[in-house]
Every structure is written in C-alpha cells, then in structure tokens.
C-alpha cells in the first residue's frame, strides 16, 4: 500500500474531490494511514442533505417555474460540492449522473431529476445491482429514455439499448435481438406524478429470450441477466478507472477491479477502496494526467482560495459559475446526450481552453476589488498571500502557490519566470507583501499560475 504522505494525499484529494483547500489537505493527513482516511473520511456515510426547496415534493404541474427551480437545484448542488469537505459522496453522485444519464432536455420537471439525483447520492457507493434496478424504473429515466411510452404492444427500444450499450455492457456484448426482447421486459412502467407506476396491461406478459435464456422476464430480471455476464463488471470498473485514474484503461488492472466487484456482489464501496489503495492509482505515470472537468475547475478554484459555502453569494456568485461551466460545456442536470460528458480531452477545444483562462483571470481580479460584483468575500490578495508562512520570501511563496494550484511539476525556468512576474519591478531582496503594489503583483502571479496549461490537470 502506498505511503501516506503529502504527495499521496494531494493526488488522492485532487481526484476524489472537487478540488481542495490547504485545510482539507491537513485534515486528510491527520489520519494515520491511507486506509484510515478512506474508511473514516473519504467513504464515510453522511446524512442526506436538505432539499433545494419545498417544491421537490410538489406534484408536477405546468407552472413555468421549472427554469428557476432547475437553477436553484443546480446552485444547491454547487453548494454541496463546495462544502463536501473530504468526503467523495458528491463526486460519486456526479459520476452516476454521468453514467445513468438523464437530462432536462427531456425531463421537464426538476422534481424528477431531484429524485434521481438523491438516488445517486444515496447509492454513491451502495450496490450496483440494486442501483441499476432502481434506475430502470426511476421516473426521470422512464421519461428520458422513453420507457414510460413503451408497452407490450408498442415497444420502444431506447432504454433497452442504452442500458446495455452505455450503462452495463458496452457495444459488442449483446445482439439487436437481445435489445428487442429486453425492451419487452422493461414495459409496464409509467410515470404518475412523482412516482413510477406499474400497469399490468401495458406489460408484455410473454416469454422473452435474452442472452439465450428464456422466461417471462421483468425489468429486474434483465438486470440480473446482464450482471451474469462478466463484461458487466469490467464495463463499470473501466468507467470508474477512466474517471479516477486515466482515460486510457489498463485492462489488466480493470480485470482485477472487476474480480473484486463480482466477489462482493456488485457492492461499489469495496471496489472503490481497492482502487484508491492500489499502487496503480498512485503510479507516477498518471500523476497530474487528468484534465479537470468544469466543476473541478470552478469549485476547486474557489476552494483553493479558501472560499467557503457561507461566503458564497447565491444570487451573484453561483449564476457566474453557472454561465462559466455552461461555456465550458458542463451544465449539471443537462448532459449533452445519453452518453454523458466524455471527459479528458473532450473538455478542451480552442474555445474552452481559453475560456478556462479568462475564468481564472476573472476570479483573481475580484480579489481586493471593492467594485467587483462577484466573490465579494474572497480574500484580498495580500491577506491570501499572508496565509502562507512563506509570504515574505518571494521564492518560497512561488513554490507554495505552485504546489497549491498545480498537480504537475514545472521546470526551474518556469518557476523563475513566475518569480519575475511576482516581483515585477522589485528585486528579490526587497520583496514584501507590505510593498506598495504588492497586491497587483500577487494577482499577476496567481493569474500566471492559473493560465499555465498545467493548472488544468488534476
């Protein structure tokens, strides 16, 4: 098992959280071992958070409040991410949102997406078999992939196809006929108000042949049949690996993960523990190799500046983050299609790359700026610099700031260049955070660090 030190902890936190503050890092290192931290903190259970509003239990009616409520729920999730501490439940909630995809382009009522989101939160590291069954009759999913419209006499293949292709098996592990037959087994379910309801007369009450086996299968039987195939465990583990380790999977290691997954009857927690304590996870090859998703970029930046949930202004700060993450192509509750966000290089195009740069510039520029309309409670640059013990030693301050913001090693030349940016017209010996103009020099350094492509990596 890897040694539990600063470098290990930074890597683990940067992958399992939406960024981290120095306090989070200290807290993690206060645990004696890696396993201790994972068991007692990272994967510890927490109460379900209060909902984004009383409306979550309202029977859906067309009252044109959906847009505002989707917004409120999005901000609510941002807040849960920002206040996640050192627990990866929100990261896993987003993982399942991006795995069992539904989105507001078809799910008009945020109530349904709220129910689904909480299912993912409750099942963050629960049992995958149960989760897949629950998702199959989840109201938002019945709407998103047309299950509610499908009946024995009028089957629609949409859910049956995607559950095999994208949620459990992957292309090549089923036939077109398996899809057609499974579509029949999934019939009978509709959405009534906030609930999924079963109507026997809409169910295809006949024998179906799926993967060569025949029976009068229902939705939960299809999930069981799927999970009998070894490809299923590998498929889900590959997805976890791509999210938390590297987007090009190591198939030998995936097989080991899948073995753990199957031996534990598809319990997710043991396979996460196995992954996060493996030498593979901490291999130097992968350190700093993950391109941050837009939520990691935005929430992570706020965390690095020690901004807390209480200091965020819901009516001005979250709308800014909403607009920016939308421009960076990640709008929560609205994945681009049923495949979800692909991640890694897909996040980066000529436009999104430079948008990331303008975003970090913007946040830094609010520091100490009384006229700024966002992030009014973010530290002023001098106070922020002084939270580092090294504040008055320019060389060490650059090192510390680089260490906080980057998971990637940078060259001596680049550090020298950053130092020159911090010093501006001052010489090293004269550096002090009390020098007139230090405020702008510190901001220049922060902007430069966050403009480095290296900043985009976790």
């Amino acid at each position: 098992m890897p040694v539990w030190d600063v470098s290990t902890a930074k890597h683990l936190l940067s992958r399992c959280l939406f960024g981290y503050s120095r306090k989070d890092l200290d807290k993690a290192l206060s645990y004696k071992t890696l396993s201790d931290f994972i068991d007692k903190e990272l994967l510890s259970s927490r109460p379900v958070p209060p909902p984004p509003g009383d409306w979550v239990t309202e029977t859906p009616t067309n009252n044109s409040l959906e847009g505002d409520r989707y917004r409120a729920m999005t901000y609510w999730w941002y807040d849960l991410m920002l206040s996640e501490g050192t627990n990866m439940r929100e990261k896993m909630t987003l993982f399942w949102h991006n795995h069992f995809v539904s989105g507001r382009d078809k799910v008009s009522y945020p109530q349904h997406m709220y129910i689904q989101n909480n299912l993912f939160r409750r099942s963050a590291w629960g049992n995958f078999r149960q989760l897949a069954k629950d998702v199959s009759i989840d109201p938002a999913m019945l709407i998103y992939l047309d299950g509610r419209l499908s009946s024995g006499s009028t089957p629609n293949e949409n859910y049956a196809r995607e559950v095999m292709e994208l949620f459990t098996l992957g292309v090549g592990n089923y036939t077109e006929n398996d899809i057609k037959q499974a579509a029949l087994a999934f019939t009978g379910w509709q959405v009534s108000g906030l609930n999924a309801t079963f109507t026997q007369s809409r169910f295809s009450n006949t024998n179906k042949t799926i993967f060569g086996k025949t029976g009068n299968y229902k939705y939960n039987d299809v999930v069981d049949l799927i999970l009998e195939k070894p490809e299923a465990a590998e498929f889900v583990c590959r997805k976890l690996y791509k999210e938390f380790v590297f987007y090009k999977p190591n198939e030998v290691f995936i097989k080991q993960m899948a073995d753990v997954f199957r031996k534990n009857n598809y319990e997710i927690r043991p396979v996460l523990s196995f992954l996060l304590t493996s030498d593979e996870f901490y291999s130097p090859q992968y350190r700093g190799a993950k391109i941050k998703n837009p939520m990691e970029v935005t929430v992570g930046t706020l965390k690095a500046f020690d901004l807390t949930s209480e200091q965020v202004n819901t009516t001005s700060d979250w709308p800014y983050i909403f607009t920016q993450t939308q421009a960076l192509q990640q709008q929560l509750f609205y994945p681009p299609d049923v495949q979800g966000w692909l991640g890694q290089r897909e996040w980066i195009s000529s436009t999104t790359f430079v948008t990331r740069g303008s975003l970090s510039d913007y946040i830094v520029n609010t520091m100490g700026n009384t006229k700024a309309t966002q992030f009014k409670l973010i530290s002023n640059p001098v106070s922020f610099a002084r939270t580092f013990k090294s504040a008055e030693d320019a060389t060490k301050l650059v090192d510390d700031i680089v260490n906080l913001f980057l998971q990637f090693p940078i060259s001596t030349a680049k550090k020298q260049s950053l130092l020159a940016t911090l010093l501006g017209s001052t010489i090293l010996a004269n550096w002090s955070t009390s020098t007139p103009g230090a405020e702008n020099q510190i901001k220049a350094l922060l902007r430069a660090v966050m403009r480095l492509p290296e900043f985009q990596f976790a």
Binding site: D146, N158, V171, S349, T351
Partner: protein
C-alpha cells in the same frame, strides 16, 4: 512567461501560404442523433412505406415531389427549390456494411471513415488535412486548416499529430478570450501525463496562432448580404459565410444540429407534415439554403459545397410511440453551385430489408467522401486512397465536373433527365461521354421546332449536367435532343 502573447502574434513565422489547396471549401452539416431518412425523402408511391408507418408516414399529397417516386419532407421547401435549380444532389441509401446502431460508435465510424469493425482515432478530415499540409504540426498554414463552429471538438478534425482545427462560436469572443494565453515550447515529461500536457499546449498554440486572423478576416467581411433564419445552425452557417466572404482560406468547416434521435413523437398525430422531425428538417433546409444564397451574393458559390450527414437512418417500421428506433442507411444531401443536381440511387427497397428490419445500403459513405475529395477538393486518387486507410471507393457523379466513371455501361454516351418532371421553373439533364466528342443539346416544341440550344461544343470524357430554366415556357410537353459523334437520343420533358 517567455511565451508569445496573441497581440504579438500578428504573423505566424511558420505560416505556409494556402497554395496547396485548390481554393475549394467543404462545409459539413452534421445531423446528430440519426436522421430518419424515410421521412426525409419520401417513397410516396410505395404501399409498403404506408403499411409499415401507418401513423407517422408523410402523406403522398404532402410530399414535395422530386420525381415520380420520391418527394421531400414538407418541411424542406427550401431544398426543393435548390433541387429544382440543380443545386442539390440527393444521394440515396448511404451507409456501410454491418451497420452499428449505437449513436456513438456509428458517429465515430462516419467521422473517421473506418469500417464497422475497425476503431480509428483520427478523423477523415484530419487525415486529409495532414496530407494537404505535410509540415503539420511543426509548420502550420497561415489560415486555420479547419474550423468547427461550436465548443466540443469533433473527432472529425483530430489526428495523431494533434488537432487540425480550431473550435469557436463567435470570432470576436474567441479573440477576446485568447488574449492572455501563452505559447509554451518546453519539453513535456516522458509520462502519460506529459502526453496530455502536450495535447493541451497544442490547442493553446492553435488558439493563439489563429484567433487574430479569424477576427481580422471576419471584421473585413461584408455582413448581412442575405438574411439568415435565427436558428443555431443558421447562425453557425452565417459565420462560415462571413469568414469565407472575408477571404479566409480554410478548406473545411463543420457545423452541427442535434435532436434527430426521434424515438417518440417525431410527427404530430394525424398531421404528419408537422412535428419535431419536420421542424428539424425545415431548420436544416432553410439554414443551408440561406447559406447558398449568401454565397451566391458574394460571388463565391462556385467555391463551396455543403454536405449533410447523420450517423444512421432509422428503422423502417415505426415503433409504438409515434417514433422510430435506430436504423441504418439513409439519404444525404450535397448542395452547391458545382453539383450536378438530381438524385443518385434508387428508392429504398422496403421489401428487402436486413435481418433487423433496416434498409440495406446502396452507397458506402466513403464513396461520397471520395467523390468530394476528388471532384470538389481536387485530391489525387492515390492520396484519397491513403486518406481512406488504403481502400479505394468508386466515386459518384455528384459534381458537374465529375470525373467519375458514372453509368459504367458499354454505351458511348448517356443522356437522361434528373430534375423535376413535370417541372415548374427548373429541371436538370445529365449526360455522360465515354470519350471526348462533339455534343449539341437542343430543345424542341411538339411541332418539332427548335426553341433553344442548351449546349454545343467539343467536350472531354466525363459526366455533365445542365440546368434548364423554363419559367416562361408555355405549359406542355417538349423534346430535348442530344446529338453527338456517337449518336443521338431524345427525351420528353413536361412543363407544368
């Protein structure tokens, strides 16, 4: 940071001029989600079509008649107009062997040009561009090699050497965002992480190198020569038109419209000429037609061709939810002043479907790519073969100046009508010559009086088309005769 800021990047020192291109431009319109081909080009005389699609078929009287068997979806009036003018070619039943019905797999197949069984990680346009600019990425041309309107970069323009394109939605916003970005040529660590860093730096370099020239050409381009619709696709094409008008030499553009995954309620019950799918098709037809008219006003229409594509068509039989599930082959459209017009291919054979109830493909999608590369972009056949992974695909006579071995018969020449018949304003005739010869095509009234000459002269071997404008003709039948060194043929055309 020792890098170069965008403001200092007035001229790219590595820039090559664009002399390597023939000045022609390809604009791709991706219909994401799987466009229902059977409700796009309607086989309105086929009872099987109405039998298998009892609730969602487009009625015969609603179809915009292309010929005696095929009509366009009623949402596509703008395309019907282009078709009548010979500026739109329909290619029927385009697909590939062993079709994959996953959106994502099939999209990748279309974008890379691979066989169904192969997984390639380079886009076909990316491979074309790296052949066109062999110095890439060490040397990059002065104008972007490809531009994608949008935010998430498509596999289409990705290569093992890096991205060959820039991606943005608005030239000014893009330029402003790039300010402050730096170029960094330091070596990367020799790890997997280092490879990812290299990728990101290359994107940064492209942004810095190109945001200036894109804005410069865009700024100087005349705006609003033609009024586009206000849809997203039309806005994308409007910017493409303005960039081309401003003199940007970029040879390939990609635009996208989504929403074609019509599993449910693709038409309105009992009013199948309306609904989601008709609206989508109207959006496409109106946007592309506006783009064509814009280019005509700019005098640049000869340079540009538009091709639509989608990852697959949809199941022949409707599903139970007023929609269609994933299918296979489908028609696509090629639009431009240089196309031959008319229809290539037959109506889908609905009595002979594959085991899954889907249409069998007639043309491989790479035949269309190869035709565009050869006859529009002027790429040599050996290069096309290399772009297509060593395979050769016979080309199709999509373009007027086609060198395709079309109508590979033993005949010395062919002569057919391909446009609307009867027609109201325009129709199109197509002819092919096996070898160079003298040709004269004339028009006669029913009394046998010659009323006009359409073409006269010695023509090289090839396939040609001519548009006949007949808006002022008296309604009724006419004869069109082709005389050439190899013989003659007369066809009868009707003005409605």
């Amino acid at each position: 940071m020792g890098g170069t800021s965008v403001k200092a990047f007035a001229h790219n020192p590595f820039a090559l001029d664009m002399a390597d291109t023939n000045g022609k431009i390809l604009v791709l319109v991706q219909l994401a989600g799987g466009n229902d081909g059977l409700n796009t080009v309607i086989p309105y005389e086929n009872p099987l079509y109405y039998n298998k699609r009892a609730n969602i078929a487009i009625k015969k009287e609603d179809a915009l008649v292309l010929n005696s068997q095929m009509g366009l979806n009623p949402g596509m009036a703008a395309f019907k107009e282009l078709y009548d003018k010979g500026k739109l070619t329909v290619v029927q039943n385009v697909g590939y062997a062993n079709p994959n019905r996953s959106h994502f797999r099939s999209t990748d197949i279309w974008l890379t040009g691979s066989d169904a069984a192969d997984v390639w990680d380079e886009g076909w346009v990316g491979r074309y561009l790296t052949k066109l600019y062999p110095g890439f990425p060490l040397q990059i041309p002065q104008d972007p090699m490809a531009i994608q309107l949008g935010s998430v970069e498509s596999l289409l323009i990705q290569t093992d050497l890096g991205s060959t394109g820039v991606v943005f939605s608005n030239p000014t916003n893009f330029y402003n965002l790039v300010t402050g970005t730096t170029i960094d040529n330091e070596p990367v660590p020799d790890t997997l992480a280092g490879e990812e860093l290299r990728f990101m730096r290359q994107i940064a370099t492209q942004s810095v190198a190109y945001s200036g020239i894109i804005k410069q050409k865009w700024d100087k381009s005349a705006k609003n020569l033609y009024t586009y619709p206000t849809t997203s696709l039309a806005s994308q094409l409007k910017i493409v038109g303005e960039l081309i008008g401003g003199g940007l030499q970029t040879p390939v553009y990609l635009t996208t419209i989504g929403g074609f995954d019509t599993h449910a309620n693709q038409v309105v019950a009992n009013a199948t000429n309306t609904g989601t799918h008709a609206t989508l098709l109207r959006t496409v037809a109106d946007a592309v037609t506006a783009f064509q008219k814009d280019l005509e006003k700019r005098g640049l229409a000869d340079k540009v061709v538009v091709m639509t594509f989608s990852e697959f068509g949809r199941r022949v039989s409707q599903n139970g939810t007023m929609g269609t599930d994933h299918g296979s082959a489908a028609p696509l459209f090629v639009i431009g002043s240089g196309v031959r017009g008319g229809i290539l291919g037959r109506n889908p054979v609905l009595s002979d479907l594959d085991g899954n109830g889907d249409i069998k493909f007639e043309y491989d999608f790479r035949q269309v790519y190869s035709s565009i590369l050869q006859d529009h972009l002027g790429v040599e056949s050996s290069t096309i073969q290399s772009i297509m992974g060593g395979k050769t695909f016979s080309t199709l006579p999509i373009f007027r100046q086609s060198t395709s071995a079309y109508i590979a018969t033993s005949q010395e020449f062919t002569f057919e009508q391909s446009g609307a018949n009867p027609f109201t304003t325009y129709t199109t005739i197509v002819y092919s010559l096996k070898k160079s010869m003298y040709v004269r095509i004339s028009l006669f009234d029913m009394m046998g009086r010659e009323v006009g000459t359409i073409k006269e002269g010695t023509m090289p071997a090839g396939v040609y088309s001519e548009v006949i404008e007949g808006s002022y003709w008296m309604p009724g039948p006419y004869f069109c005769a082709m005389k050439c060194d190899a013989g003659q043929k007369v066809i009868r055309i009707s003005k409605a």
